[in-house]
């Protein structure tokens, strides 16, 4: 029996939530950004702004050039997380086979449930109706229905915004023949270019390509590509109830031009290490491998290194010292660090390891526990390291993180 997979994608999500929250923004081209005066990117654009050619991730200067009357609004992760929690609560009533793919995208396997609603399309219609009633009229979703996840996502993309699309079996050959390989999730620009070099442009051509060639060129991924080219994808919908173990804890930040010196970058890094340590203690994990990455200027590439500590840690100060050691080995140009990041890997549950016997380690643990209690009670900004006060507050950008929140839905 063929599976019925639903891909539900919220339309212009962050921008729609802002328009729902503030009716005076409705009908206007808006862009969600960090601080409108900062030189950064637009993390989401409204459907009205898309008509001017604006895209997510576009630099702010380019967005303003394309649409001079663009309204820029600061984003709020707590708003988006709340709306996500609310639409997931609705979807959970339809099926337990619900995979949270991102903050605004889910997959559902409704093979068993669709018949109760007279099919997948009426079911999708009912879901959209519930969204309208509970979330508001401006927050809409597009639904793609197909026998697998890849095709469902592709169909949803073709029915945006606010649409419902279903792929029927007889439509598959035409879809494969007309879809460029780059349109499929999982085939990036590099793979697309490599395929184009040998004359593979559409999914159908990919499906006809010799398996040996794809395996030689792309390894195991070549077999996945071959299957995609034939309209097949056996990857299961991973239910939201599945507990995925945390593999790493990290934070990163793009720096505005006025903070692009090595001294400022290291101060930002100090704050990031503090947040990584705080999150690790909340999760009850310790880690041994510390990775720190930097980007120099806007055009140069990313560089990073890792180091392994003698003992696993969840202490921000220890993580920062490891980052400093990494930084000393990298010989960075000091004048233009545009991005800093840190992550801790090689994690283990803290409870499964013996505690340190050294008095200075135990003192640091007590100090961290006291700091955590203060932050739990009075908020994240209630107590900070003295170093972070040396610079004025770093602008809060929207993309990539939620202040102090774990994304648990």
């Amino acid at each position: 029996m063929s599976r019925i997979i639903v891909h539900l994608d919220m339309d212009a999500y962050f921008a729609s939530v802002e328009q729902q929250a503030n009716p005076s923004l409705r009908g206007k081209p808006i862009g969600v950004a960090g601080k409108p005066h900062e030189r950064s990117i637009v993390v989401a654009v409204s459907r009205e702004a898309k008509r001017y050619g604006l895209k997510t991730g576009m630099p702010m200067w380019e967005a303003r050039r394309l649409c001079p009357h663009l309204v820029l609004v600061p984003g709020s992760m707590s708003r988006y997380i709340e709306v996500t929690k609310r639409f997931l609560a609705i979807l959970k009533r339809y099926t337990a086979a619900l995979e949270v793919f991102s903050i605004d995208e889910v997959f559902m396997d409704v093979t068993q449930e669709a018949c109760r609603y007279g099919g997948a399309v009426p079911m999708a219609g009912r879901i959209k109706e519930e969204f309208r009633e509970d979330l508001g009229s401006y927050i809409t979703a597009t639904v793609g229905i197909a026998p697998n996840k890849t095709l469902a996502k592709l169909i949803a993309k073709r029915h945006k915004p606010d649409g419902i699309g279903e792929l029927r079996a007889e439509q598959l050959p035409e879809l494969l023949a007309t879809t460029p390989v780059g349109e499929v999730c999982g085939i990036g620009r590099r793979i697309e270019t490599r395929l184009a070099r040998v004359g593979i442009h559409t999914l159908a051509e990919l499906g006809r390509a010799p398996e040996d060639y794809l395996k030689r060129e792309f390894g195991v991924y070549g077999l996945f590509l071959k299957e995609i080219g034939r309209g097949r994808d056996s990857s299961p919908v991973i239910p939201y109830t599945t507990v995925v173990p945390v593999k790493s804890v990290g934070h990163s930040k793009s720096l505005p031009p006025r903070l692009r010196s090595i001294e400022s970058a290291l101060l930002v890094l100090r704050g990031l290490c503090d947040r990584v340590g705080r999150r690790m203690r909340k999760l009850g994990v310790v880690g041994r491998t510390v990775y720190s990455g930097f980007r120099l200027g806007a055009r140069e590439g990313h560089c990073g290194k890792q180091t392994t500590l003698a003992h696993p840690t969840d202490d921000g100060e220890t993580i920062y010292r490891a980052c400093l050691a990494i930084h000393r080995t990298m010989a960075l140009k000091p004048e233009a660090v545009s991005y800093v990041g840190v992550s801790v890997r090689n994690l283990a549950e803290k409870a499964s390891l013996p505690g340190s016997l050294l008095p200075e380690d135990r003192r640091q643990e007590r100090l961290n526990r006291a700091i955590d209690r203060i932050r739990d009670r009075f908020g994240e900004g209630a107590i900070v390291t003295g170093e972070t006060l040396l610079f004025e507050a770093i602008p809060e950008h929207v993309g990539g993180y939620a202040q102090g929140h774990e994304w648990v839905f």
């Binding site: 939530v17 729902q20 929250a21 503030n22 009716p23 005076s24 709020s76 707590s78 708003r79 997380i81 709340e82 709306v83 508001g136 932050r375 739990d376 009670r377 009075f378 908020g379 209630a382 102090g404």
Partner: protein
Amino acid sequence: MYRPIHEPIDAYVIYNRGAPHPLLRAFRWDNRRFDVTATNLVYPEREGEARIFCYSVSCGTDHFRIRLNATRCLWTLEAVDAES
């Protein structure tokens, strides 16, 4: 655009059984009563232990951002986007 206010207000609310937050029906600010005609969005936030609810409401053509500190039962008008 919203204009910041940050002033305490009196609120007229309904506590519905089972609802995650009270329903804001009207509020009094600057010696005027504003009747809420639409609740556009309500979302929770945390400030340490304090549980905050942020209301985005409309009163006719004017729009308001209101905060409820549920721990202290304190209502604050945060910002106004008013035509009048």
